[in-house]
Symmetry: C2
Subunit: 371 residues, 2 copies
């Protein structure tokens, strides 16, 4: 098998881990790396500040994009595909917004376009959607897919107020200087767009009314919930309805002991509810080596010319509005609806609904929204 030549766009934490893993491979070689300032790196590989040296190099087979952000990453990825190169990316902003278009562009150019690392870091969740469940009807997909909000909510449960917990997360490197994508729910929404795009072949551009973050959650609310035997996490869920798709990111309440409340650090959890039963994946949602493992796995798949997922599901359904998005849980319930306890209704000052989780008989989930 011939040597595969790759180029990287970006050399941050994830990029360095990709270099580290590929150093042990003799079938994949890194030819060039695009960086902003070559003098800041001590790496023994050819660096360039000119992306066209990569795009126009006919020897490069795969471009690995780990620079992040939409501009200029989207333009570079598009140019690489147009030039007949395959692309592997960890860029959730680009995939959530342009994933469908880029998959089509890759098909037209007979190239691979893979993005396992864009959701759930090192968890092979997109692969399960693309391959294992390729011919299986999926009912719903949900998960805790943002580590920053997990960290902040955990700190708030220990008594910190939101603003202090956020500052601590920033000081420790768990949150960015502009934290709005994480705490506002946008990061989760982008990842959910990618998951539901693959699961339902329906690419959602999440709009504001479908996404609630955790900025309105108060430490006192979490304490009162805990006293009543509940905890709260930011959960993203997409669910097939008769003729549309429910799409919601919201703070959600679970009984203590629920798997979401056990997640520590940057661990993520994603559940796929399908004709074949419920499969849960838990693993590192971030981190250099974990994310790089997904990228290297995608490179291997392209080396062996894996095709894209066939569009087997319903096409381009309209997105339910926010009220529907909450109501799907009522409509889906196959058991009598339990009453929401008065204490919760009047308690933390949030609007609540509840539904019994069909796959876990007897367990009731309380869905929760900032007023």
């Amino acid at each position: 098998m011939k040597t595969t030549r790759i180029a990287m766009l970006g050399l941050g934490t994830v990029g360095k881990s990709v270099v580290e893993i590929l150093a042990h491979q003799n079938t994949v070689v890194i030819d060039k790396i695009l960086v902003r300032n070559p003098h800041r790196h001590t790496i023994d590989l050819p660096l360039t500040t000119n992306v066209w040296e990569i795009i126009e190099d006919p020897d490069i087979d795969i471009v690995v994009e780990v620079m992040g952000g939409v501009d200029p990453a989207y333009e570079y990825v598009t140019s690489a595909l147009h030039s007949g190169k395959s692309v592997v990316t960890a860029n959730k902003e680009v995939v959530a917004r342009y994933g469908q278009e880029l998959m089509e562009l890759a098909r037209q150019n007979r190239q691979g376009f893979l993005f396992e690392a864009s959701v759930g870091g090192g968890i092979p969740i997109l692969d399960a959607l693309n391959w294992h469940l390729r011919t299986t009807v999926i009912h719903a997909i949900e998960g805790v897919i943002n580590g920053t909000t997990n960290f902040i909510l955990h700190e708030m449960e220990q008594g910190m107020e939101f603003s202090h917990a956020l500052k601590r997360a920033q000081a420790l490197g768990f949150a960015e200087q502009d934290p709005s994508a994480d705490v506002g729910g946008w990061d989760s929404a982008r990842k959910l767009s990618i998951l539901s795009g693959l699961a339902f072949n329906s690419w959602i551009h999440a709009e504001e009314e479908q996404v609630s973050g955790i900025t309105h959650v108060k430490s006192s609310h979490l304490h009162r919930l805990r006293d009543m035997g509940f905890g709260l996490r930011l959960v993203a869920r997409a669910e097939a309805q008769a003729s549309s798709l429910g799409f919601v990111v919201a703070p959600t309440v679970y009984p203590l002991g629920h798997r979401y409340l056990q997640l520590s650090g940057s661990q993520n959890a994603v559940g796929i509810f399908s004709q074949a039963g419920t499969i849960w994946f838990e693993g590192p949602g971030a981190g250099g080596i974990a994310t790089a493992t997904s990228i290297v796995s995608d490179i291997q798949r392209i080396r062996f010319s894996l095709p894209d997922r066939e569009p087997l599901r319903f096409d381009n359904v309209p997105v339910a509005d926010i009220d529907d998005a909450y109501l799907i849980f009522r409509e889906e319930a196959r058991q009598p609806m339990p009453e929401v306890p008065d204490s919760l209704q009047k308690g933390p000052g949030y609007l609540l609904s509840s539904y019994p989780l069909p796959p876990d008989k007897g367990l009731v989930q309380y869905r929760f929204r900032a007023k």
Copy 2:
């Protein structure tokens, strides 16, 4: 893409579910099905009692073996590979015993030999080992991979003695008339052989001293454990050591709330501990549609000519004996070893060891063995 023609060996629960799923596909066609008694089936597909009609039919691309047992399944699978057909099987006995040989035979004949359904039913765990973690160093793999013992232990926790719980499991179809493979730990050991074969490229033929079942567990033990805040499940674990492989199937004690104690019905859980962090998979370990989903996924992979895993790990290491197998947990511990509580040591009458789980800081696992 050309139509793929398959033949099936066997038409039980899993076989019928494969037929059901493929009925919706027009790119994969079932040409023939080997059955013992054609008059017992009402299915509208060509049945045969002569396996050579399948092996010698040059139009058949893939043979799907869902008959179970070693004899004659092993001979049929070997003949199919020799005849230049790919094979997909759910047969854990055949794969555990002959997997390495059959993978080599498939390679020689340039055919696919895939067996996702043989471990963890509908969970894409072998795919994660074959693809996602293809170039990642795996430290250990462990799990609860036998549903029958889960059911029996759950009933025993409610007060039933082992023999009654077993009879109930048989009456409900959760256990076979000869239950020794399940309750003796052999079913788990075979599945662990397959997992460690792929994870470490080292195919273990589990011998008696490495496998403990649950036949010695008493309901009163489980009650005393529960009073002390623990539960027990049959756990299989393989772990890389410096120059060998630890391989153990044993009843193991966990703090209440641990994921293994939450598994209901035929749900399995498998954890992979690797350089890229810890990934947990939970899903249906049995059931027609779930298992058939894995089979159909393997058929799709062969259609698209996926290659086998490259042997990247250490080769044919000697297997540690039973004492080593227990001791690996002590050697691996990166934190000071906690004391085993006196109450447990003297309690249920089992030999215990303990170690702190490195990936889940602060949680101590108690390993447990029938005297």
